[in-house]
Symmetry: C2
C-alpha cells in the first residue's frame, strides 16, 4: 500500500483536480493539494476512472504470446471442450506462464480486478489451479484475482470432479463454478444441489456458466433463483452468459430479470457476438448488478479477443446498440466500478476513502474514452503505479 | 502506373518469393527476380495479399478527426436519418475534408478499393456528392472509389429526389442507390421501378440498402430478384445489409439465397453486431459474391467503427462464429479479392497479369494475419507505394 499524489486529472471527466492516495486509499481530491514525501505524477488533464474490471475470463486457456495455433475446430460445445482438454499438453500450454501473460496485458490496459475461471477435470486435476495460484501470488498488489473452480468438462457426468472442486476450494479457489446444469450435466437438480452444497461448506460464492438458451435456460435459471432464496445466498450467486435472458420475448424475460434482481443474483456478460445476450441496459434498469468480461482470449476455442476491457466494452456496446453518450457512460461503468460491485468488491468509485485504484483514459469525455480505446496513460493500484502508456511499470516483473 | 520490385514476400502465405510490377500490373512472381531501373522494396518475409476492399461505407458521414460529437440519438431509423440531416451544417461537417480523412485512413490500412454511398436529398442536393468527387479525384491512383448516389432520406416519399439522383449519375456517380423500398419508401413497386429505370438510362449498376427484416425484407428482395431477371441485369445489382437473409428459418432463407446466386446479385454485409445478418459462410457456399464493409465510422448515427477492413473482418468473423483457419481465410478473401469481385472489379488475386495492388500483412499465416490486425507493413497500388507501417506515404498528400 503506497502513497501517491496525482496532479491535474479529471475524475470521471469532471473538472481538473489533484488526487492524493495515502496508505493505498484515496485521502483527498481537490485543487492544488500539497503533500510532502510523496511520489508525484502529472496526469496532464486526462480523465481518471476506477480501474477496469474483467469479471469473466479464463486465464488458464490463452495461447497469447505463443505461436499461432492452427488446430481450432467447429462443432458443438462438447467438441470444443474435448479439443481443448486434448490439446493442452501437446501444445505446451503452461498455465502459470500463460496466465501471467494474460493478466499482465490486462494490467497494462488498466485492469485492477479479474475474475478468472480455472478448469478442474480428471485429466488435469488441480494442476491448472496450481499454476494460476502462483500467478495470483506473483501479481499480488498489482491486480486482484478471484479464482473460480470451474468444472469445464462437467460435474455430474464426471464422477470424482465434485471431490476435485472441494479440494480446489480448500486450496484457495474463491468461487464455486458450474456449467450448464441441464444441457451439460444432464441432471440439473443434482448438479445445482452439489454446487450450492460446496458453496455452503466453504462459505464461498457461486458463479455458474449458463449457455442454455430459451426455455431450457429459463428453467435452469429458475432453479438457481429458487436455491439462492432457499439458501439465503442473496448477493452471493452469479450467472455467467445467461443467454436465456437474451431471448426475444419480453414477457418471459422481464419477470425473470425481476426475480434475478430481487435475489441479487449477479450477471456476467461478454456481449457474445454470435449469441443472443441479455440487454445490458435492461438488466441495469431492472436493478441487476452486471459485470463484463473478455472471456477466452485467443485460446483453443477461438482466435478472437483482446486482453483489454475497453476492447470488450466496444463489443458489448455494439452488441447492445449503444450510441448515445449516456449509454457509453453506463457501459464504461459496467466495465469498471459496476463490474467490481458485481464481483462482491467494494466499489464506491473515485471518492475519499475508496481504494486507491484508478486508471487514466484518453479522450475528451467518458463516452469518447470508451470508444477511443487508446493506451491508458497511467494505471494505479493501491497507490502504486503499475503501468504507463500501455506498458507495464512493475519492478521485477517482465512479460514472460 | 509504376514499376516496383518487392523482394522476399510470401504471396497468400505461401513460399517466399519476389514480385515484380511493371506498368502497374504484376509482371512476374518468382525467386531472385532481377530488374533494372526499378524501385526495390524489402518485404522482410511478410505475407502479401491483394489490397483490402471496403465495399460498403459512407465517406460523407464521418466525424473522424473532429471533436467528440455529443449529439447522438436513439430511436427509429427515421430519427437517426433526421438527426444527421439536421446536424451536418451546425457541425461544420465538410464532406471533402472528412471523406479525405476517412479514405486516407483506409489507404494507410491497406485498402485499394472503396464503394461509398453519398447522401442525395433536398437539404443538401448534390453538394455532398461534389465534395466526394473532389476526394475521388485527389486520391486517383492511390485508391479507387466507386460512388453510389444514395437517397438516404427517401426517394418516393421525397418528390424531386429522383431528378437529383439522375443528375448525380450524370455528374459522375457510378452506382444507383436505394433505401428500403417498402419500409422507407412505402411503395416498393414504384421505388424499384424508379431505381431500375435510372440504372438502365445511365447504364450503371445498382446497390440498394435493404434493412427490412423477415418477410417484408424477403418480399422486397423477391421484387429485386424479379427485376434483375427481367432487365437482364445479372451481375449488376447489389443489395447491402439484406438482413432478411439472416432470418433463422433455413427453409425460407436457403431458396432465397439460391435465387440471389442464380441472378448473380451481390450482397454487401457489415456483420452488424446488433442485427440478424446473413451468414457469410452460407452465402459463399451458395455461390453468392459477397463484399464486406466498414459502414459508417464514428458519425452522427453511432460512435463505433474504425476505418480498417481488418477491424471490420474481426466484427464479421466474430458475428459469424468463425474459429477455424479455413474460415479465417475465407473471411480475409471476402475482405479483399472477394469484395472487389462483388463490386464488379477484376479480382484475380496475386497472379501475373493482375493489377499491381497488394498489401503486406503481419502474421505467421493468413488466419493469424486477419486476427492480429497489426499495422500493414507496406501498401502498394498500381505499383506505387502508398503507405508504410500504418502511415501514409503519398507525396504531396497529408492527413487534413
Amino acid at each position: 500500500m503506497s502513497d501517491l499524489l496525482i496532479r491535474n486529472i479529471r475524475p470521471m471527466g469532471g473538472a481538473a483536480a489533484d488526487l492524493l492516495i495515502r496508505d493505498g486509499r484515496i485521502a483527498a481530491i481537490g485543487a492544488a493539494l500539497s503533500a510532502t514525501g510523496v511520489a508525484v505524477e502529472d496526469g496532464q488533464g486526462a480523465i481518471a476512472i476506477p480501474t477496469l474490471v474483467d469479471a469473466h475470463t479464463h486465464l488458464d486457456k490463452t495461447t497469447w504470446g505463443m505461436g499461432w495455433y492452427k488446430g481450432r475446430k467447429g462443432g458443438s460445445l462438447q467438441d470444443l471442450i474435448d479439443n481443448e482438454r486434448n490439446a493442452r499438453i501437446p501444445l505446451g500450454l503452461d498455465v502459470h506462464r500463460q496466465s501471467m501473460r494474460h493478466a499482465l496485458q490486462l494490467i497494462a490496459n488498466g485492469t485492477g480486478h479479474i475474475r478468472s475461471h480455472v478448469d478442474v477435470d480428471h485429466d488435469h486435476k488441480l494442476t491448472l489451479l496450481e499454476g494460476k495460484l502462483r500467478t495470483r501470488e506473483a501479481l499480488r498488489g498489482a491486480v486482484d484475482i478471484q479464482i473460480v473452480a470451474f468444472p469445464q468438462s462437467g460435474l455430474m457426468i464426471r464422477p470424482g470432479v465434485y471431490d476435485l472442486l472441494d479440494e480446489a476450494l480448500a486450496m484457495g479457489a474463491d468461487v464455486v463454478g458450474g456449467l450448464d446444469p441441464s444441457s451439460m450435466d444432464r441432471d440439473p437438480k443434482a448438479s445445482l444441489d452439489a454446487i450450492f452444497r460446496l458453496a455452503e461448506k466453504h462459505g464461498k460464492p457461486i458463479d455458474i456458466h449458463l449457455h442454455e438458451y430459451g426455455e431450457l435456460g429459463a428453467f435452469t435459471l429458475e432453479e438457481i433463483i429458487a436455491r439462492t432464496r432457499a439458501h439465503g445466498m442473496q448477493g452471493k450467486v452469479g450467472v455467467s452468459h445467461c443467454f436465456c435472458l437474451g431471448a426475444p420475448n419480453p414477457h418471459r424475460v422481464g419477470p425473470l430479470m425481476e426475480q434475478v434482481a430481487r435475489e441479487d443474483i449477479r450477471i456476467f456478460t461478454t456481449g457474445h457476438p454470435s449469441a443472443e445476450v441479455p440487454s445490458l441496459q435492461d438488466m441495469r434498469a431492472a436493478g441487476i448488478k452486471v459485470g463484463l468480461g473478455c472471456d477466452g482470449i485467443r485460446d483453443t476455442w477461438g482466435p478472437w479477443g483482446q486482453p483489454d476491457m475497453l476492447h470488450r466494452a466496444r463489443i458489448v456496446g455494439m452488441k447492445n446498440r449503444m450510441r448515445r453518450d449516456d449509454e457509453l457512460e453506463l457501459l464504461l461503468d459496467a466495465a469498471s466500478r459496476g463490474g467490481a460491485e458485481a464481483m462482491g468488491i467494494e466499489a464506491r468509485g473515485l471518492v475519499v476513502g475508496a481504494a486507491g485504484d484508478l486508471t487514466l483514459v484518453a479522450g475528451e469525455t467518458l463516452a469518447h474514452a470508451v470508444v477511443e480505446e487508446a493506451p491508458r496513460p497511467l494505471v494505479v493500484k493501491g497507490g502504486r503505479v503499475v503501468a504507463r502508456n500501455g506498458s507495464l511499470a512493475l519492478a521485477g516483473i517482465t512479460m514472460p
